[in-house]
């Protein structure tokens, strides 16, 4: 997964070939499928290390402000 906040404007607008399709075209709609075997393997691997993927996004809050350190998407 590459968050939209991690893609530069140039990369996001990059197209493939002459067809004009976006190079990074397929968006995550947060609908996933995992087998139990996969999850058990992944859990074992991440129990001994691994990387968190922190996504910093500008998200409105209840008082209408955004965190000052939020990166502009």
């Amino acid at each position: 997964m590459v968050e939209y906040s991690e893609l530069s404007a140039e990369a996001a607008a990059s197209v493939m070939g002459t067809g004009g399709r976006l190079r990074f075209n397929w968006g995550n709609m947060a609908m996933h499928y995992f087998s139990l075997d996969f999850l058990e393997r992944a859990a074992a691997e991440y129990a001994t290390g691994g990387m968190y993927h922190v996504a910093k996004k500008r998200i409105p809050t209840v008082d209408g402000t955004t965190p000052p350190n939020a990166r502009s998407p």
Partner: protein, 135 residues
């Protein structure tokens, strides 16, 4: 939200991991995308469309608050699979409606119950929509 067609598709392929995706409306759309780590950008998942792409599968799905007609394509990736569909335009709310006659037969048979128009919550609307056609 669960999608029985997506789950059935993954199960029928023996997938370990699957992700349903949709095409971005524009480059600026705020939506994360899938890519292969450490690969050139051209190796984004859509490039792993199998050498012999299956015929298109026309389907209507509910995608968050926006519902679109799409052409489903299968993407096989290292033994798993991704189930993707291409946006061709926003339409009204509907679940699975129409399946192209030539799409993968074995998968269709296993998932036939989800593809029955009778199970579609908006069946009457689907029947009347010009993009749906006959089921």
């Amino acid at each position: 939200m669960g999608d029985p067609t997506f789950a059935g598709f993954c199960a029928a392929r023996g997938a370990e991991v699957g992700a349903r995706v949709c095409a971005k409306v524009s480059a600026e759309e705020r939506m994360g995308v899938f890519a292969l780590r450490g690969q050139p950008a051209a190796m984004q998942v859509e490039c792993s469309l199998s050498r012999q792409p299956p015929p298109p599968l026309y389907i209507l799905v509910r995608a968050e608050s926006t519902v679109r007609v799409g052409v489903v394509q299968t993407v096989c990736l290292r033994g798993g699979c991704l189930y993707s569909w291409c946006r061709s335009g926003p339409v009204s709310a509907c679940w699975v409606v129409r399946v192209h006659a030539q799409c993968e037969r074995a998968w269709l048979e296993r998932c036939a119950w989800t593809l029955s128009l009778g199970l579609c919550p908006f069946a009457s609307w689907c029947r009347g929509h010009p993009s749906v056609g006959n089921v």
